[in-house]
Symmetry: C2
Subunit: 143 residues, 2 copies
Amino acid sequence: MTEGLLKSQLAKKHLKLTRQREIILDAFLKNDHITAEDLYSQISNGNIHLGLATIYRTLNLLCELGIGQQRHFGDSKVLYDNVLNKKHHDHLICIQCGKITEFECPDIEKIQEEMAERNCFVLERHRLELYGHCKDTEKCHAS
Amino acid sequence: MTEGLLKSQLAKKHLKLTRQREIILDAFLKNDHITAEDLYSQISNGNIHLGLATIYRTLNLLCELGIGQQRHFGDSKVLYDNVLNKKHHDHLICIQCGKITEFECPDIEKIQEEMAERNCFVLERHRLELYGHCKDTEKCHAS
DNA sequence: TTTGTTGCAAAAATTTTGCATTGTT
DNA sequence: AACAATGCAAAATTTTTGCAACAAA
């Protein structure tokens, strides 16, 4: 299913389906947000060796195909967000444990449209990140 | 006035007021958002030479003092946002001309609080960026 | 067989750090 | 005099690129 997807997406651009691309897509889709380096480690742990450059190239390719999206979240490293079969969403990031939760909020998006218009601006896309403390684990319950 | 501010802020931390720090603060406050590299160029153009490392160190210091804040905006370079005497604000970024406009929106912030709560999350801060096309100049009016 | 892809190492790009020297308090 | 800051060059970090060998169409 995903293999088929990848293949057809690649075919459109006259690109080739390689074993490496299959491996990377598979690993990528098992995560919600991951860095190139971490994906590299995950794949290495499965005793498959791929060059880090290939990971970067493929991750960027997945973004072009609309399967991934780059995010920052204040870190120096880029996180690749798996957006396959997902609607647009924003993120809650726990400052303490690093947990990332996705959410949607049509109400906010509506107001954003208004804000854009008020500023003579045609909105294309947005990025909203909420940082705070999650109450999920003991170490994360808010003070 | 700003000199006094800088001096007193530094004194609190047993840090010293140097000519370089004055120059950098002055230049920084003339901008709303700027990269370290660009600030370096601006200062160089005034025929003053400072090391780039000093710019970085001082910009980071200004962030610790609450005068600046780091931002990403999707670029690889960090933008330093001048927040002296400003309330919290978010940003509209023009994809075409790069223009950055600041805005506030209490309505959105209210909903953010609700979203955080609904997700068992204590909100600390947020980051909202709207990307699109501004209608200000000919080259930027939306299609 | 043609063209795209990989792996590696080297390069790029951005930011930080070590250290001797200099400047502030 | 004591301590912090600067400048420079070197290092660190993250990502991209060139190119020869290889694999897919």
